[in-house]
């Protein structure tokens, strides 16, 4: 009896074990998603995470993954907290079978902490439009990418836009431009660039910090009222944005002279402030809206199957689209890595090569269902930022929608590139890094 039981167990266990082995043997592309769906910044973290997850689900459902290899999305909650973000990195980096292929920290604070780890662990980091700006210098930061544009690009584009509105860059002389910023590593990023630009163009620059989370900003806006700047820029996040827009409206600051960074320009920032936000502007590196073929695909292949990460009605919101384009960059880099190395079983070090050889053309964007959604991106060994172009969008409170109001504008390369060189070289010196040789492109 005992033997029969043992034999039966053996006979049933072996096929199950084999099946299990077959399952674990199937290669999967591990992409960690450092989300923040809780905490004070959750309203912004959720749509980005949803857009990112939905695109990955779309590829799995429609194409069986990337080039037929399924994607394993590993979500980890950071609550936009640097310490939790680093814990997420440590907990997910070794996830089988591929190990983490690339990280999107979604926080400048977390990015700064992960920069030294990336090269050691050979896992690239894509801090898309945030993080350390001087990581644009690929010869010093081989594992860090921050395309399609940096905060410094954006700051210089804002100044260029303001110059255009004032009737030329010469007209900036004697003007006063204020920056209201989140008092954090993120918020402080554009200050140096703006100081340089103020010297170059002769405008007066005024920097006003706001402490986390930014619910009370009265003192800041009283200073704005006293100083009467011609333009105000904002590097804000979360509740700080809504309060700032309300305060600006309260002191009757003209909303069309108030420009937010691309993290201060989503529906979350303007809808709760009602009509006050009408005319408010922000930077962006992609279009708003859900009128793209890719969105239709997401609805068909993801939401119609009940696999959507969020609410279908919110597809196409600014931050949702940001999550989507981030997913596109990541997956196209993995595809490129597969091409370069001739295998689907890529690892982090291969994806780094893919990111560095990424060439996302207009035609490829159209093939992906995103025609004219964003600017083409071409990355090289030396240039990890790519185009560095930024557009402006404006909020229409009555129509409840953002619309692009400018072309994608070129940053002031003379100022920005010099600052990137200076800062990255200082970083290399501090950390005893010998910059690698990159072929001149």
């Amino acid at each position: 009896m005992v033997f029969r039981t043992f034999a039966f167990g053996l006979v049933t266990a072996i096929p199950l074990a084999l099946a299990g082995a077959a399952t674990t043997d199937a290669y999967e592309l591990v992409i960690p998603s450092l989300d923040y769906r809780t905490g004070p910044y959750a309203p912004n973290g959720i749509p980005v995470a949803n857009g990112f997850a939905d695109y990955m689900t779309l590829l799995n459902e429609r194409d069986g993954g990337i080039n037929g290899t399924p994607i394993k999305l590993v979500a980890c909650e950071t609550a936009y907290n640097t310490q939790q973000g680093v814990e997420c990195y440590e907990n997910t980096k070794g996830t089988e079978p591929s190990g983490a292929l690339v990280y999107n920290p979604l926080s400048t604070g977390i990015t700064y902490q992960l920069i030294p780890k990336a090269e050691v662990d050979q896992i690239p980091i894509l801090s898309m439009g945030y993080g350390r700006t001087s990581a644009a210098n690929g010869s010093v930061f081989p594992y860090i990418f921050n395309f399609p544009a940096t905060y410094w690009d954006q700051a210089s584009v804002f100044i260029k836009y303001i110059g255009e509105q004032e009737g030329g860059m010469d007209a900036l002389k004697g003007k006063k431009i204020a920056l209201v910023y989140h008092n954090s590593a993120y918020g402080k990023e554009p200050i140096r660039t703006l100081e340089e630009l103020s010297k170059k163009h002769g405008f007066e620059f005024l920097a006003l910090p706001v402490d986390h989370p930014g619910q009370e900003q009265k003192a800041t806006w009283l200073q704005i009222r006293r100083e009467q700047p011609d333009w105000v820029m904002m590097w804000g996040w979360g509740v700080m944005n809504q309060v700032a827009i309300k305060e600006a409206a309260s002191i009757r600051f003209p909303m069309d002279r108030f420009i937010g960074v691309w993290w201060s320009g989503s529906e979350n920032d303007v809808v709760p402030t009602g009509a006050d936000a009408n005319g408010y502007k922000s930077g962006t590196f992609h279009a708003p809206g859900s009128d793209f073929p890719l969105h239709a695909d997401i609805k068909t292949h993801v939401y119609d199957k009940g696999k959507g990460a969020g609410e279908e009605g919110r597809i196409g919101e600014v931050l949702y689209n940001r999550g989507v384009i981030q997913a596109v960059y990541v997956t196209e880099a993995i595809r490129k890595a597969m091409d370069i190395h001739g295998t689907n079983e890529v690892r982090g070090v291969h994806v780094r090569d893919g990111l560095e050889a990424l060439d996302l053309t207009e035609d490829r964007l159209a093939e992906l269902g995103l025609p004219a959604f964003t600017i083409p991106v071409a990355i090289t060994c030396a240039n990890h930022t790519g185009p560095g172009k930024v557009a402006l969008q404006q909020w229409d409170a009555e129509a409840q929608k953002w619309s692009l109001i400018s072309d994608f504008m070129e940053a002031d390369r003379e100022v920005v590139d010099a600052l990137i060189k200076e800062d990255s070289e200082a970083y290399a010196k501090e950390n005893n890094i010998t910059p690698r040789e990159c072929p001149s492109s």
């Binding site: 809780t38 004070p40 309203p43 959720i46 009265k218 003192a219 006293r226 309300k246």
Partner: protein, 325 residues
């Protein structure tokens, strides 16, 4: 006096006194604006601090969840109004009912089991409660920023701005009127009603109050309900300003220095403390902030409160505790 002493006095004068003298002389309207805005912002902090005081006064519990209660109330109010289309005049009493039910549940599930425990145990329980309420709110209403509009006017008070040139925010002016009303009602409640006196008896000594027939459980439900209603008022004011979202729970951090300064057991203390903190932090931010890089108002509020502690450990209006050894 030695030269270094004179220089030190001169430096202190230049840092602490001179900016105000010059600003008050050169920009008197601006100085007045800062003081008025500080006073009104202080009232907003007091609204949150009041909830803490009520519970501490009646039960000796420092309720860490008070900020989350403001969020919780705001979430239900906006949920009723925005998701179900219920008008504000009905949604507000419905939210009050939710807060009373929450108070009853808190007593039933948490406090009842902790009678006569050390204050630190009760404090830890409220810490857990904060996370539970935040999670429940998130589960029911989601994490999005919610627009709250119950008809409170917002923006600058046009008359003051156009006629006098002084900027006064209408939401904060409304909050000041509401806070004044709340204080009058609460003071009357505590001083002149039987329940109010019973609440004070419980605060003095749980066991003595029980021995004279006061039901501790009923008192706790009442006091947590009142604190819930105060939290709703705070949630409405702050939510109208910034939308109802999870960062609303962090307004508790603004109330702490107010409590330290005003005393944990005094309703007038919460108001006066709020006014001092509000004006102090605004003046510090505008006049001293630029010298040290700005964004000092948060920590300055705590520093100010701690400075008061040196001279009055019980706070400005707190009860002096004398224990015989």
């Amino acid at each position: 006096m030695p030269i270094w002493g004179c220089r030190m006095i001169e430096a202190l004068y230049n840092f602490f006194i001179d900016p105000f003298v010059r600003m008050a002389a050169d920009f008197p309207i601006f100085f007045a604006e800062i003081v008025i805005s500080g006073l009104l912002a202080g009232v907003m902090y007091s609204l949150v601090a009041l909830g803490f005081v009520l519970i501490f006064k009646a039960s000796g519990v420092f309720n860490f969840a008070q900020g989350v209660m403001a969020l919780f109330a705001g979430l239900f109010l906006t949920g009723f109004m925005n998701d179900f289309g219920i008008p504000a005049w009905l949604a507000i009493p419905m939210t009050v009912a939710v807060m009373v039910a929450t108070a009853w549940l808190i007593e039933r599930l948490v406090l009842r089991h902790l009678v006569n425990q050390e204050p630190i145990i009760l404090f830890m329980a409220t810490l857990g409660l904060a996370y539970v309420l935040e999670g429940v709110g998130d589960l029911i209403w989601g994490s999005d920023v919610k627009l709250l509009d119950i008809g409170i006017p917002s923006g600058a008070w046009d008359w003051a701005l156009d006629s006098v040139g002084i900027y006064v925010e209408k939401i904060e002016l409304t909050a000041a009127i509401v806070a004044a009303g709340l204080v009058i009602v609460l003071a009357y409640f505590f001083q002149y009603t039987r329940i109010g006196r019973a609440l004070r008896a419980v605060a003095d000594d749980h066991q003595a109050a029980l021995s004279v027939g006061i039901s501790l459980r009923t008192i706790w439900v009442i006091v947590w309900s009142v604190a819930g209603i105060v939290a709703l008022v705070a949630g409405i004011m702050w939510g109208t300003k910034s939308g109802v979202q999870f960062s609303l729970s962090l307004i508790a951090l603004k109330a702490l220095p107010v409590l330290i300064l005003g005393g944990f057991t005094s309703i007038p203390g919460a108001i006066v403390g709020g006014l001092i903190i509000g004006v102090g932090e605004k003046i510090a931010e505008v006049y001293w902030g630029p010298v040290v890089g700005g964004a000092i108002e948060n920590w300055f509020a705590y520093m100010l409160a701690l400075a008061f502690l040196l001279f009055r450990p019980q706070g400005l209006f707190g009860e002096k505790i004398i224990e015989r050894i």
